[in-house]
Symmetry: D2
Subunit: 346 residues, 4 copies
């Protein structure tokens, strides 16, 4: 049994990692760190985990952590991650980092959108952890940068169309909506129940959200000439779920059937991507609690645009679940281990 630790267990991503890992057949969870809750049982902080784990939250040094586990999930804020990860790698450990610190391959872009990078030498080594695009690299990686939630939903939806060159990439507009768990567990007025429930709003409007360069990086891998896209995130009064509505100008003569074949070709063997039948569209409630990404689309012949809809559970396929999928690949486990649960509905 592989010994696994979660660094940063007290956020929503941390508890979801624990929830998935406590039933994983090939690993043992040996440590969970939290400065805030050090000394408390993880199941006291998150009572859903009672009887599922006896882990105590600890405040451990990197050296102590290295003595406790061989595989690490770093579920800490960006900037903190880049301080920890190099030490873990130096000790011969494997890491899935769930922060943004190792997602952007270009350090200049990272530093424009975030801050100075103190481990820039790792950016080339880190593999972008989207198994549907980088499965083989992930298998042999010791550092996987787990994708952002919004980028996962958008890139999976666009990849087959970009690869085939059937859309005009400059026309891409991604209008995305996320559940509130994406805002994290920090105590702030804007995330209070009464501020969010029975309401809806956009935020980071006008190309200012930090997932924008991440989305563009992956889109541009398919293109000769880099493009910029429009991305607008919104806050949904739900806990879990992202739905991205993506617009793009379709090349002339491309038909419904052509598009279906492109999706099928790329994803029919994928365990976690579900392409929906014609005139069927995804809904966040059908992927809730699972690692699935559902994709549907429609060609609007009146305007020549294609509208693609894609949904994930933002803390599963958009965070903890994809991280476990990456661990499975990196460690030679069955790719779906620990991730077989069907979405729950209602």
């Amino acid at each position: 049994m592989l010994k696994v630790a979660i660094i940063g267990a007290s956020g929503y991503t941390g508890v979801e990692l624990a929830r998935i890992l406590c039933n994983h057949p090939d690993i043992t969870l040996t440590a969970a760190t939290s400065r805030q809750y050090a000394g408390q049982a993880l199941a006291q902080v998150f009572p859903n985990l009672r009887k599922k784990t006896n882990l105590i939250c600890e405040n451990l040094t990197t050296a102590e952590l290295c003595a406790r586990a061989d595989f690490f999930f770093t579920a800490v804020p960006h900037k903190t991650a880049m301080d920890i990860v190099p030490h873990l790698l130096a000790a011969g450990k494997k890491v899935v980092d769930l922060s943004a610190d190792f997602r952007l391959r270009n350090v200049a872009v990272y530093e424009e959108w975030y801050q100075k990078h103190s481990a820039a030498d790792l950016l080339n080594e880190a593999v972008y952890g989207l198994p549907e695009l980088y499965r083989e690299q992930i298998r042999s990686s010791r550092l996987t940068a787990n994708p952002g939630c919004y980028p996962t939903s958008i890139i999976l939806a666009l990849a087959p169309l970009l690869k085939a060159g059937v859309i005009d990439p400059r026309s891409i507009i991604a209008d995305s909506k996320s559940g509130t768990s994406g805002a994290g567990r920090a105590a702030q007025v804007g995330s209070l129940f009464c501020e969010v429930t029975d309401g809806f709003r956009a935020y980071k409007v006008g190309g200012t959200h930090r997932h924008t360069p991440e989305i563009e990086q992956e889109i541009n891998t398919f293109l000769h000439e880099p493009v910029r896209i429009s991305f607008t995130p919104h806050l949904l009064p739900i806990s879990r779920g992202i739905l991205s509505t993506i617009y793009a100008q379709l090349k002339p003569e491309v038909q419904q059937n052509d598009i279906t074949q492109l999706y099928e070709k790329m994803y029919s063997q994928e365990p976690f991507v579900r392409i929906l039948p014609e005139n069927t569209f995804p809904a966040t409630q059908y992927v809730r609690g699972s690692n699935f990404c559902d994709v549907g689309f429609k060609i609007d012949t009146r305007t020549g645009r294609i509208i693609i809809l894609s949904t994930i559970d933002n803390i599963v396929k958009g965070a903890a679940g994809q991280a476990v999928q990456n661990m499975n690949l990196m460690c030679g486990f069955t790719e779906t281990a620990g991730l077989e649960s069907a979405p729950f509905f209602p």
Copy 2:
């Protein structure tokens, strides 16, 4: 006191009309029709109205109705409205019709998207009831076609920009999200609490929603050459509220300040439109229960697009409230009468 009747009082628009009208200073509610609930007190069907109205739901003929009131709100499905309205007008009554039957000026377009029109002669006379655009015509109208909820949110957001010619109209994409009251009060599985809550989905994807031609009709009044736009409606797990996120390619050189001035010029004297300050964006929870339309915007200099965000309460400014605003204009009342309540938050 003007005698007013609601035809079709048992839907969410009907009860909202009753809620607003029971406190209106210039009118008396004299009849409310409902086939389904005939004989029951309206306050029994909608217990929020207890102690606010003693009206009994009735199943009345047009002739009986004409004897009971001088002003009518027809809150019935399209097709039904076109059967009733001509009789009311013939009897010398004034009408605000909340269905789609008199919104489209071109009968061919109506018949393409809906069905055969049996009162097409009234289409030219009917005034599109968006006071911000057609106030003077509404004042002298005897038949006002109350706009659809989505079109209200989209047209108000775009009108100043289209008028000034600062955006490329062919690039318009309206990604709209509506609360579930927009689906009406019909007992159907898709509207059940467990199907909607904690979830999110698009519907009528790809330019197939019937509000599309209504939006295009009003957009095209500003243009020399008609355009088609992309419009995608989504279903929010909230009761009330629409937020439209609208994308358009901005003409070069247009600045934040230019746009602000266009909005201010058109709307600064409007009682129910609120233009938000720079970098402030609307949220449905700030217009809830009110007749306000809030509009904010942001220029994305990376892509050259403007993103406009607009919110209304879909059953107030998007239906019953705007209908009362129209009645106020048609009857010479203060335009804001009955509509002064501030939005409630939280």
Copy 3:
């Protein structure tokens, strides 16, 4: 026009006071205090109030406040209230205090459940602001202690039965459920959207909630021998609304009709209490946004108990609305002024 100030305008009670008062026909809102938001427009803090008020949040001394208004709502935490109120009264002002500081007539009880009282001499003068029980005293009061939200819902439900002696007071159990706005606007993890939504829990179980002595004080005014009751509050995943389910052993031979008559006798002329017909029960969504208290009941002949159900909007009849009702009485305004809006549904 009476000049009115809100001390503590940045909580949910404060914004609701502002929402109601901005449409009140007899007053002008002249000041709103907030330490946290001093210098910001109240409508910036609470965007629902845009175009409804131009007030700026200020951090004012009591002396400055006295120069600005003649009537005060103190919507500050207990302990803070007792420091401010004596100064306002000394300056000849009238006050409705929305904290708990002046609700308990017995200083020993106050100090047992809260802390040392620094203005205990005012406890006898302060009138418990439940108009249905103390209307005449409120009219002539200069200090009204606005009741707690839970007590309002429970006392109104029980008063007619206690007065008539038809229930065993020792058997009273009040199982109450409140919307999350009752927890206030403080940024704390337990009030986050993701912690509350799609969930339900009890808190302060076992007679430990501070509203317990307040409920008992008012119950005991009807009794020769004081009793203690069971009260359990719960947290609902809704913004507004309290429903109390109250159980009591009924005296033998008392019939449905007897109870109905007791309620009708006490409340039929009350503007804000609605007694529901037999076999009809209240729901929080039918009082939302209004000052109504709805009461229904059922006799369970199998067990000899009566079950009474009572609902209010916790920030209207349970806080700001009742406070305005009290102001109306204290100032000789129409009792319902500013409070006529019908509950909104859906």
Copy 4:
């Protein structure tokens, strides 16, 4: 692999059975019946099940069903169940019935609360499927009557106290709150999103809910003299979850510690009951999606009452999960097979 069929797969209990069973290690799902959706893929009716099951909904006769499976879950309404179950048993099959038809041992009580019973001879044979009370009988049963959701939450909470005789059974009041999935998937106005969300109400007030006799039957197994209890169900604006708040007069001298020991003694080895530490209380969001029942309590020394709080997921431990637990017992599988998932939070 045991061949298993779900009779009545199109309700919320049916889809939850399918969700659990599609990952069960010891069985194969071989048939799912639905009159309404016959011919459609189950994963088309419930898109959460895409890629998890290929089952087609069918309208099968009992004979056809018997050829297809050896174990049956009947998830049909009461009355329908009693028509089907005898045929399955006669064919040598084992059955877990999720309706109310075989829960009440006394046919007279059944007929008083429901209707005439056509298979009354099976009432004595049927085992009440609460494994914590009847594990051994269930193991050898061929017909298990799966308990109601409310009774499960109430009986598990009370059993240790009744067994030990530490409470006065005549004083029991169970105030229960359930998520809306409990109302089923029928298209009815009262279950619409807009009628339920942001609201709360009681229903079947005054001892009229059909779970009352079921609760009393099980309570009375611990008593010499039968009692009647008060039970009030309420409708929560959540999908899944029941919380029961139970009040009872405690025998003098009984302490916190005594109660804790009674719970520990009865439940410490139970896989699905979690007794919470002192001053910790359950919440529905911590059992969501799992088969756990969480129980906490508090002694109110002011009134001499104990307040017990108990939560389950109403469609897991309250329906489908408990049914699978019963199947596991009846078939000699590991009792927790298929039910190991941790509750998901948030």
